[in-house]
C-alpha cells in the first residue's frame, strides 16, 4: 500500500499535514505526536518582523466550532529560522512555512530568506487571514491583487508556492484561476470563515477583535464544496482543510479533489488527531483495496 502523495514536485510520505496556526512549529505537539509520522508540518504564519497580534480574548467557542482572532502573532522570520526550522529538521517530515505580511515587500523579504533554507520544502502564502488590518486577506479577496502578489513572489521564491485561499469571497474558483494564471504551484483551502459571537448577558463581543475566523467541524461541508469546485476549475494540486476531525472527513476532501489534507482546530480537541487520521486512511485503503493513495484523489463519482 502506497500512501505517498505529491504536491508541486514534493513527495510526502502520507497526505496528512497540520494547518498553519494550530500546531505552532511542532514543538508543543511533539509531546503527543511522533512528527516523523506526518506528511508535513505547516508552521504558524511568519512575517519579516515580530508581530504582537490582537488583544485578548482571542478565541471563543461556537456551536461545533470556534472563532479565533490571534492576529498572526509571530516571532519574526529570524527566530523561526534560528530556532524552529532546526527543531523540525530533526524529523523525517516535510517542512512547509506559512508566510504572512502587511505589504508585498514584507512577503518578499521572508520568501527570500527562506530561499536559503533547503530544509523548507514548500512555502504557503497567507493571503487569507481575516484577523489583521493590513495585508493577508487584503491580497486574497480580489483576483487582480492575488494575481499580482503571486506573480511577484514567484520571481523571488526558490521553493514552490502554495497560495492559501480564503472562503470569504463570492467565487473561490475566480481566485484559484488567478493564482494559477500567476504561476502558483499549489493551492490550500479553506482558511477560516469570518464570524462573530456576542455574549448577550454582558452585551459584549466574545472576541476583542469583534470578528474572528471560524473553524472546526461545523464548516466542513462548505470546505468540501469549495475544494470540489476548485478542483474542477484548475489543474493545480489542492491541500484541503476545514473541520477535518477524522479519517472519513479527510477522505471526503480527497475524493472531492484534494491531494493532501490539513488538520487544524481538531488538534486542540484531540492532540493525537493527525496520526489517528493517517492510520484511518490506511484502514480505509485496506478495506476498499486501494493500492495507491493517488487513486483516491478526485475519485468521487457522479
Amino acid at each position: 500500500m502506497n500512501l505517498k502523495t505529491t504536491i508541486a514536485g514534493v513527495t510526502l510520505q502520507n497526505p496528512v499535514m497540520t494547518a498553519s496556526g494550530t500546531f505552532g512549529s511542532g514543538m508543543e505537539y511533539s509531546e503527543f505526536v511522533d512528527l516523523n509520522r506526518l506528511g508535513a508540518v505547516v508552521t504558524k504564519g511568519v512575517a519579516n518582523v515580530p508581530w504582537q497580534g490582537n488583544p485578548t480574548p482571542r478565541v471563543a467557542e461556537v456551536y461545533g466550532g470556534m472563532l479565533n482572532a490571534i492576529g498572526l502573532q509571530n516571532p519574526g522570520i529570524d527566530v523561526l529560522m534560528e530556532r524552529d526550522i532546526p527543531f523540525l529538521r530533526q524529523y523525517n517530515t516535510k517542512i512547509i512555512v506559512n508566510v504572512c505580511g502587511k505589504t508585498v515587500e514584507d512577503y518578499i523579504e521572508v520568501v527570500e530568506k527562506l530561499g536559503d533554507e533547503p530544509a523548507v520544502a514548500l512555502l504557503e502564502i497567507n493571503v487569507s487571514c481575516p484577523n489583521v488590518k493590513e495585508g493577508a486577506i487584503a491580497f486574497g479577496q480580489k483576483a487582480d491583487a492575488l494575481y499580482n502578489i503571486t506573480s511577484e513572489l514567484k520571481k523571488h521564491a526558490r521553493q514552490p508556492l502554495i497560495m492559501k485561499l480564503s472562503p470569504n469571497v463570492t467565487d473561490i474558483t475566480e481566485m484559484a484561476k488567478a493564482a494559477e494564471a500567476a504561476g502558483a504551484d499549489a493551492l490550500s483551502l479553506i482558511n477560516t470563515l469570518t464570524g462573530m459571537k456576542i455574549d448577550v448577558h454582558k452585551r459584549k463581543f466574545a472576541i476583542a477583535n469583534k470578528t474572528g475566523g471560524m473553524s472546526g467541524p461545523a464548516i466542513k461541508p462548505i470546505a468540501v464544496r469549495m475544494v470540489y469546485q476548485t478542483a474542477q476549475a484548475v489543474k493545480l494540486p489542492i491541500i484541503g482543510m476545514g473541520g477535518i476531525a477524522n479519517a472519513e472527513d479527510a477522505i471526503e476532501f480527497i475524493l472531492a479533489g484534494a491531494s493532501a489534507v490539513s488538520i487544524g482546530a481538531m488538534n486542540f480537541v484531540n492532540p493525537y488527531s493527525t496520526i489517528e487520521i493517517v492510520k484511518g486512511i490506511e484502514d480505509y485503503m485496506k478495506k476498499y483495496k486501494v493500492e495507491n493513495f493517488s487513486d483516491l484523489i478526485g475519485a468521487v463519482e457522479g
Binding site: P50, V59, I70
Partner: protein
C-alpha cells in the same frame, strides 16, 4: 509529560450555588503540582474546546485529583451531572504551578477570590510557611474555607458583608492588620491588579495565577496570552502564553 487520558469520576457534590466539587481518578495525579491545571473535554460534540480547570487537591496516594469549578456554560453544566463511575477525557498536567520554594519558612499570604480559591488548597498543603489564607466571596455561601483552615489562619471577606470583612480580600488584609513577605494569589482580574499594586508598594514578590480563554492548552494556538513587561523569550514580542509560560507569573513580569 503531558497526556490526554480517560479519568473516572470518584465523587461529585455541590458546595455552593453553581460551585461543584469533583474527584477524578487519573494517573495525572502522580506528577501534578499546586497551581497547575487540567483540561476537561465535554462529551457533547457541539462543544469543541477543552475546559481548563485548576487542580484543587491531590490525594495522599497520588491517584486522584480534586477540581472545584463553577458552572459557566454548556461544558461545565455537563460536568456537574457526572456521577461516580462516569468517565471524562482529561489533558494534563498543564502549566507551571506556584513556586512553592519561594514561600518556604516565610510569612505568606495565600489569597483566593471566588473560583480562584481552589488552587490555594493544594498549595496550602505543600507550603511550609506561616500561612495567612485570605478568601474573598460574593456572599456567605462559602466553600473550601473549612478545608483550608487545617493548613493556616483563614480570613474571609464577602462583598455583601454577610460573613467576615465586608469588602474584598484587600479590605480583609487591612482590617486584620496582616503582613507578609510573599504573596500567592488566584482570582478575578481586579483582585489581581490590586495585589500587584500592593506588592509593588510593599516591595514583596507576588505570584499570581491568571486565566484566559484557551483553545489548545499546550502553547500552540497563542489564544491565551498576557502582555509582558519584557520581550518574552518564546514569542519574541511582549506576550507570554498563560497556558505554558504561566498560569502563574510574578506580578511584576506581566501588564494586567
Amino acid at each position: 509529560m503531558k497526556q490526554k487520558q480517560t479519568a473516572t469520576v470518584r465523587s461529585q457534590r455541590q458546595l455552593a450555588a453553581q460551585i461543584f466539587d469533583m474527584w477524578i481518578e487519573t494517573e495525572l495525579a502522580g506528577e501534578a503540582a499546586p497551581g497547575q491545571f487540567i483540561c476537561l473535554y465535554p462529551k457533547d460534540k457541539s462543544t469543541l474546546l477543552p475546559r481548563p480547570i485548576s487542580i484543587c487537591e491531590i490525594n495522599e496516594e497520588r491517584t486522584a485529583l480534586r477540581i472545584v469549578y463553577r458552572i459557566t456554560g454548556k461544558g461545565t453544566t455537563e460536568f456537574s451531572v457526572y456521577k461516580q463511575g462516569d468517565t471524562v477525557s482529561v489533558l494534563g498536567n498543564l502549566g507551571n504551578g506556584f513556586p512553592v520554594a519561594k514561600g518556604k519558612e516565610k510569612r505568606v499570604f495565600l489569597i483566593g477570590g471566588g473560583i480562584g480559591i481552589p488552587p490555594m488548597l493544594q498549595l496550602a498543603k505543600e507550603l511550609q510557611a506561616q500561612k495567612q489564607i485570605v478568601l474573598g466571596y460574593r456572599s456567605n455561601e462559602l466553600f473550601l474555607h473549612n478545608d483550608l483552615e487545617r493548613y493556616g489562619q483563614v480570613y474571609v471577606a464577602t462583598e455583601d458583608g454577610s460573613a467576615g470583612t465586608k469588602g474584598n480580600v484587600m479590605d480583609a488584609i487591612r482590617e486584620n492588620g496582616l503582613d507578609a513577605d510573599v504573596i500567592f494569589a488566584c482570582g478575578p482580574m481586579p483582585m489581581l491588579r490590586a495585589i500587584k499594586r500592593y506588592a509593588e508598594e510593599k516591595k514583596i514578590p507576588a505570584y499570581i495565577s491568571l486565566e484566559e480563554h484557551m483553545a489548545c492548552g499546550v502553547g500552540a494556538c497563542l489564544g491565551c496570552v498576557v502582555k509582558t513587561k519584557e520581550v518574552d523569550h518564546h514569542s519574541n514580542v511582549h506576550n507570554a502564553r498563560i497556558c505554558t509560560d504561566g498560569p502563574v507569573f510574578e506580578a511584576g513580569e506581566v501588564e494586567i
